[in-house]
Amino acid sequence: MAYSEKLIDHYENPRNIGSFDKTAEDVGTGLVGAPACGDVMKLQIKVGPDGLIEDAKFKTFGCGSAIASSSLVTEWVKGKTIDEAETIKNTDIARHLALPPVKIHCSVLAEDAIKAAIADYRAKATKKAE
């Protein structure tokens, strides 16, 4: 399968691998996918006091496209507000990496991972406010 240069670059030099403390109040964690399906993504965002995502980390079990998709979104979400980050679409990821049709689900998973991380952060923030 021929992959785009951008995809291969993200696979070979993945950005922002790692983990934050998932219990920290300023961290939102999304864990999506399933080992049996061959894809699991963990995406974490760290939100600053100004409401901007100041850092993001990921770990992914999956094919090269899944790794590249999650690496790419960690780059994209940084510096955005969580509302802005929430508007990232799987089609943007797929287009940027030129994913082949059978790999579109990897971009869907990456979008799900951001949404899950944001939902987790919001749930924590709501709980704190109560």
């Binding site: 399968m1 864990l31 049996a36 399906c37 992914t60 079990f61």
Partner: protein, 412 residues
């Protein structure tokens, strides 16, 4: 041993996919060459020297193939490859005997060309039983015995599995089939030339052989069809009545000669080569085990050809690993490279969990594999497995002592 130790160009990846295909042995090519040029005759031409010369080539090749499997040369017919041989054996027998018997037995881990042939026969009204295999990949003989009925015409069980390399108990299967008066066909594409096969000792009635799996050319194979007791077949390709009427069409003389030469080399060098490959297989496995934890060999390691390893590298998805080990040409059981996205049906049949099936690689060693190549492969695999584990959330959980099965994953 052959003087040729490297046929790979330095800019090519290390070839570790010998179950997919093998490079042609230069000695085979040499034997074939004259039949492309001045010995170009049609082996069916009985009226002149060109035909006689070509016939001499095909008949020598037929004898060479027969000798490899302990058969008589009259019992060997040339086909285009193991896929055609399997089609002809199974459909040919089923159709010939359909008025008396309509039941076929095979296993769930057969090659797709056997399974698909059986599916087609089912659509035509035949009964097919797909037997499960044990966790080690081998057929349970009692399960086979129990499946045979008085309607069973054929048992088709592969000699060596193409994904996991396990060797089925052919002698025992042959004995059961003979006792029950059922024909025994074996797809020996991965076995011929690699392990000793004797159609008499093993009670095999039909055997499929492939040229390109034994360092011969692509586009040629053979089917052994027993004469005593006689096995009858309905031909799939009709025409000039070549190959005892089982397979019409002018013989591709150079390819036949290549298959024959390949068979003879395999027979002569089998013992030495098997020992050498066993050492390489051990070197590969020991090298990986010394530096990596959580790796599992799929399929029985003892009842296995030495040129195969199928390994699950837990917590690392197979396709991403293959993308990393660019200098190695291997194959993945994860099938994420294919359109289906389903993990290998062979591994699933062994009861390998889907998440482990997604992490498997098939590593094939062969005639031209060197110790240096094995060592390079080990280093490269270790490096990339470690790198990918560092970015695997599953590996992280495992290190934290979290049981991955305890998590409720959302299937997608």
């Amino acid at each position: 041993m052959t003087a040729i130790t490297q046929i790979r160009r330095n800019d090519q990846p290390i070839y570790l996919d010998y179950q997919a295909t093998t490079p042609m042995d230069p000695r085979v090519l040499e034997a074939m060459m004259p039949y492309f040029t001045h010995k170009f005759g049609n082996s069916g031409s009985r009226s002149h020297a060109y035909g006689w010369e070509a016939e001499e080539g095909t008949e020598k090749a037929r004898a060479q193939v027969a000798k490899l499997i302990g058969a008589d040369e009259k019992e060997v017919i040339f086909t285009s490859g193991a896929t055609e041989s399997n089609n002809l054996a199974i459909r040919g027998v089923a159709e010939f005997y359909k008025d008396r018997k309509n039941h076929i037995i095979t296993t769930v881990t057969e090659h797709k060309c056997v399974l698909d042939t059986c599916r087609h026969l089912e659509q035509q009204g035949f009964e097919v039983t797909y037997l499960p295999v044990r966790q080690d990949g081998l057929l349970d003989l009692e399960v086979l015995r129990a499946a045979i009925t008085d309607k069973t015409v054929l048992v088709s069980v592969m000699a060596v599995n193409n994904e996991i390399g396990v060797i089925q108990p052919l002698a025992e299967i042959g004995k059961i089939c003979r006792e029950k008066k059922v024909f025994f066909h074996t797809d020996a594409a991965q076995a011929a030339g690699k392990i000793p096969l004797d159609v008499e000792a093993l009670n095999i009635d039909l055997m499929s052989i492939s040229g390109h799996k034994i360092y011969g050319p692509k586009g040629i194979g053979a089917l052994y069809v027993r004469r005593k007791p006689r096995v009858r077949l309905v031909p799939m390709i009709v025409g000039g009545g070549q190959e005892r009427g089982f397979r019409s069409g002018t013989l591709p003389t150079p390819l036949c000669v290549g298959l024959g030469e390949a068979a003879e080399i395999c027979m002569k060098e089998m013992d030495v080569e098997a020992k050498r490959l066993k050492k390489l297989q051990e070197r590969m496995l020991n090298g990986l085990r010394a530096k990596l934890t959580d790796i599992v060999v799929n399929g029985d390691l003892e009842q296995r050809i030495p040129g195969n390893l199928n390994i699950s590298f837990a917590y690392v998805e197979g396709e991403s690993l293959m993308m990393g080990i660019k200098n190695l040409a291997v194959s993945s059981g994860s099938a994420c490279t294919s359109a289906s996205l389903e993990p290998s049906y062979v591994l699933r049949a062994l009861g390998v969990e889907e998440e482990m099936a997604h992490t498997s690689l098939r590593i094939g060693l062969g005639r031209f594999t060197t110790e240096h190549e094995v060592d390079t492969a080990v280093d490269e695999l270790v490096r990339h497995v470690n790198k990918l584990r560092e970015m695997s959330p599953l590996w992280e959980m495992a290190q934290e002592g979290i049981d991955i099965k305890s998590i409720e994953w959302a299937a997608h």
